[in-house]
């Protein structure tokens, strides 16, 4: 009896111990997690305290950090080494978990944390060659002493912080997911850059385009997805003279034609559900977008140029960016950076300011490969069998066996999806096709950032741009001397027009990339007559530009609206520019709505009647409190569905709809287009029929979804903007924001994509700047500075940014000072 009691009670105690010491599904290990002395209770605001001094091993001299009231560090070092080391230390102290999680994800190592559920995503990232890309990138970074210093010192700083960190102070996500951080290294800085490169320069629909072309023919495809889209006002003002002699570009093989048919490339649907563990905002998306512009002193009230930038990325907490100032002899830069990489990414210094929008060019092509046999040991090139190479990828799985995957590489790149394999979630990957992606090529963007951080004038900016390969960006520039400029900048393969729009035949070397567009030939403009430069991810040039850079750019609205406002602007102030970043005029609605409303027969039902009146009285602003944007969005959606879904049948199912400018152009200029006919009915439908049906179906859907017509339909609620946690952990994000704006208006706040950093810089005798981002400086969900900027961001009310000349400069906004000293 005693024995039984002892054994049973021991077993019960052991079971309780095991239960509380381990994670169960998504439930953290309760014992560890709830322990008030080491669990989540330790992740409170005490971590926000700023010590007066810190020992940071590795520093060569003293580093002084002034902290302003927004928890922004202003770092002053005596040399570059200490500057980068301090940046690494401070970045880690603010964002350690986020920076590590992002790079583990990109490296294809998420299964180490979450177990077998992460395997499919890891396999995809390994097959896509993300780690390979980072390793190649790092080798080039290490070749240059400047970038080597930046990456090595930064890593040493992160590791110094890691060493100082006890288990109790670990960021709360480590406690929730029950794992521990590992040392940082240069390859992780490179991986961080590749995270962004993938998100910005890997979007493509080549496989789906191929299927569609085979079904509908190239003429129809070109009409729906035109290479010279209507209505688009390009980045470089039309009529700008090209100041170079273009190189001849390659031609397709005249005997064979360039492309593979859709059959060998694999035609099964590739759009699965998004993987549960992909950090938000890391997927390539057509929603990726941004605005930037610079106004010359000719148009401003005080005669100083003003530069503005808001980069639209996935809304996440911890925020994508953190703010900082980096100062040492030869550098004094202020702006935002990615946790995990040295230097300021977008910002300004005492002389110049710079900002980014995604170039959105096509630097990713698929090549259908003919393998000799199922071993995939050899593949056909120019009539001969050539050997493939293999890269072994070992994926460790928490609570499971290590998975070994031998990734096949041709001379073009990795074969991401083998024939017969299930599609990867969220990526359109053709089967047995090799991936040629510029993101794989060794490059050194850190040198470009280093150059921008230190640039004193236009020449410095230009020199920096030479090292910026991928992701290609519209890099806007303004300086105190009065110059404004924009370069559509990156490394571009020399291709014939349209090359790589469809899956290419990988066996014909004529289809390979044949060289590069010379840097000086990249589209650019400096001090244009009109007095401003701007970009919004639209096509960079008009048809006169000699090179082919891509054909899938952002739709026309944001670019058109920016240029419309700036063309009329005089006596501009920074306040005007801040207001302009919050502009919510919907150019699309303004263009088509009067025409469409005129076509709809007088509605009879109450909700239809009121919706109709709401649209008729609308000032076209996407305001959270308005009902009209909700009605228009649904109406537009249904108009597109009724127009395109019958054409898509069997051909375009995997494609997104044609760009909005194509539809707007049809509505305004081609109302009799065949595309409006519903091919599933015997009769012939017109735009009027389609518009009426779309309007009625939209109102009925809104009634079903949001109840009777009224404030319950308001745009802010219907849109439901949210800022999710990077690893999608519930409770650690911000839900239910009611935000003005929409993806295609200047203030591009959609559901979970939005301006990730709003910045306005006035380049007067003293540089002044304003900025705000949707989150906060700290990555700790228990910190006061985790999401403290969200409200001001939502209201487009940026703070004036503190920019110090020296560490000791008195400034009422500085709330604490920390001295970092080297230790043993």
């Amino acid at each position: 009896m005693k024995w039984i009691r002892a054994v049973v009670s021991l077993l019960v105690a052991a079971a309780i111990f095991w239960g509380l010491d381990n994670r169960h599904g998504t439930v953290p290990p309760a014992g560890k997690f709830l322990n008030p002395f080491a669990g989540f209770w330790q992740n409170g605001t005490r971590g926000d305290a700023l010590p007066a001094s810190l020992v940071v091993p590795g520093l060569q001299a003293e580093v002084r950090v002034a902290w302003d009231g927004r928890h922004v560090p202003h770092i002053f070092a005596r040399n570059d080494h200490d500057l980068y080391l301090a940046q690494g230390y401070i970045a880690a102290s603010l964002r350690l978990w986020q920076m590590e999680f992002q790079v583990l994800y990109t490296a294809g190592r998420i299964s180490e944390i979450v177990g077998p559920v992460g395997l499919r995503q890891d396999l995809f990232n390994r097959r896509f060659g993300m780690l390979w890309a980072a390793e190649r990138n790092l080798s080039k970074v290490m070749d240059d002493p400047r970038s080597r210093l930046a990456v090595e010192a930064y890593s040493a700083g992160v590791n110094a912080y890691l060493k100082s960190l006890g288990k109790k102070a670990l960021p709360v996500e480590y406690k929730i997911l029950d794992y521990a951080p590992e040392p940082w290294s240069g390859v992780k800085c490179a991986l961080l850059l590749k995270t962004m490169t993938y998100s910005l320069a890997a979007y493509n629909q080549d496989a789906a385009m191929t299927v569609m072309r085979d079904a509908l023919g190239e003429t129809v495809v070109d009409a729906l997805f035109p290479m010279e889209p209507p209505l688009v006002d390009p980045v470089i003002p039309p009529g700008t003279a090209w100041d170079f002699q273009p190189l001849p570009f390659p031609r397709p093989n005249p005997q064979k034609g360039p492309e593979a048919g859709s059959r060998p490339a694999g035609a099964s649907s590739a759009h699965g559900e998004a993987a549960d563990f992909a950090p938000i905002g890391t997927r390539p998306s057509p929603d990726v977008g941004s605005n930037n512009w610079a106004v010359s002193g000719k148009l401003t009230r005080d005669g100083h140029p003003i530069l503005c930038n808001d980069m639209h990325l996935g809304l996440t907490l911890p925020a994508i960016w953190y703010e900082l100032q980096l100062s040492a002899p030869g550098i004094n830069a202020r702006g935002v950076s990615f946790p995990g990489a040295p230097l300021v990414v977008a910002g300004y210094n005492e002389n110049i300011a710079w900002g980014f929008t995604n170039g959105t060019d096509d630097v990713l092509d698929w090549y259908a490969v003919r393998f000799k046999d199922d071993s995939r040991g050899e593949y056909l090139v120019n009539g001969e069998w050539r050997k493939t190479s293999v890269r072994e990828e070992r994926i460790k799985v928490r609570g499971g066996r290590t998975v070994v995957d031998n990734v096949i590489y041709t001379h073009q790149g990795p074969v991401v999806r083998l024939k017969g394999e299930a599609p990867f979630p969220g990526a359109d990957v053709p089967e047995d096709a090799a991936l040629r992606w510029l993101g794989h090529d060794p490059s050194n963007e850190f040198i470009a950032l280093d150059g921008l951080n230190r640039a004193k004038n236009y020449d410095g900016y230009l020199k920096a741009l030479e090292s910026w390969d991928c992701p290609a960006q519209n890099i806007v520039y303004a300086d105190r001397e009065g110059t404004i400029a924009i370069w559509h900048n990156g490394k571009y393969p020399l291709r014939w027009k349209g090359q790589g729009r469809y899956v290419l035949d990988g066996s014909d070397p004529a289809n390979d990339w044949q060289g590069w567009v010379p840097r000086a030939h990249n589209p650019h403009v400096r001090n244009p007559e009109r007095g401003f430069v701007s970009s919004a991810n639209q096509k960079a040039t008009d048809g006169s530009y000699p090179y082919y850079l891509g054909s899938d750019y952002a739709s026309f609205e944001r670019g058109a609206r920016i240029n419309e406002i700036l063309s009329a602007a005089r006596g501009v102030t920074p306040e005007d520019m801040i207001r302009m970043q919050g502009d919510v005029l919907d150019v699309r609605a303004r263009a088509v709505l009067p025409r469409l409303l005129a076509l709809i027969p007088e509605p009879r039902a109450e909700a239809e009647k009121r919706s109709f009146d709401e649209l008729r009285g609308w000032n076209f602003e996407s305001r959270a409190a308005f009902v009209a944007p909700t009605v228009f969005k649904q109406f537009w959606n249904d108009l597109n569905a009724l127009t395109w879904n019958d054409e898509k049948k069997g051909a375009m199912e995997r494609m997104s709809w044609p760009a909005s400018e194509v539809m707007v152009d049809l509505v305004i200029n081609h109302p009799d287009s065949e595309f409006f006919d519903d091919k599933t009915t015997p009769g012939k439908e017109t735009l009027a029929d389609i518009a009426g049906a779309a309007f009625r179906s939209a109102v009925s859907k809104l009634e079903k979804r949001w109840g009777p017509f009224g404030p319950g339909w308001r745009w802010g609620k219907a849109k439901g903007t949210r800022i999710g946690h990077v690893a999608r952990i519930p409770g650690l994000g911000v839900e239910g924001l009611e935000a003005d704006g929409d993806g295609h208006v200047i203030d591009a706040i959609s559901v979970n994509w939005a301006p990730s950093w709003r910045m306005v810089v006035e380049l007067g005798p003293e540089v002044r700047a304003w900025g705000i981002f949707p989150g906060g400086q700290s990555g700790n969900p228990g910190s006061r500075y985790y999401d403290d900027m969200v409200d001001a961001w939502l209201a487009t009310k940026p703070d004036e940014l503190i920019f110090l000349k020296s560490a000791g400069e008195p400034n009422p906004g500085i709330v604490a000072r920390t001295t970092l000293r080297g230790g043993k």
Partner: protein, 114 residues
């Protein structure tokens, strides 16, 4: 009561010095195995000492800056309010300690002469 207080103080010191949660099982087990007069006493002492320690200390941390994280964790668990986190914390420690205290006593009982 004094036993519970001693257990509580011992666990407090061990918690401050180390990051391990399982002192709330080890210490009551040791008490049960070494000193408890009955299984019930071992259970009660474990429950009280560990429960009170985690209750008091989590309350202390709430009052000194852990309110925000408590709210977020409560939302993560889908709780309608954040204060139940304190109760859950205390309860988990108390229950774990009670059972391990009892197990300690049961093991000792094997060697006790009847």
């Amino acid at each position: 009561m004094i036993a519970a207080l001693i257990c509580l103080l011992v666990m407090l010191v061990l918690h401050i010095l180390t990051p391990y949660w399982w002192w709330v099982m080890i210490v009551p087990f040791a008490y049960g195995a070494g000193a408890a007069k009955s299984g019930g006493k071992a259970m009660r002492t474990g429950f009280l000492s560990a429960g009170l320690l985690w209750l008091g200390s989590s309350l202390y941390f709430v009052l000194t800056g852990s309110g925000i994280i408590m709210g977020r964790v409560a939302r993560m668990f889908g709780l309608p309010a954040s204060w139940p986190m304190v109760a859950i914390t205390a309860l988990i420690a108390g229950v774990a300690a009670a059972f391990s205290g009892y197990a300690g006593y049961a093991v000792r009982a094997l060697f006790k002469k009847t």
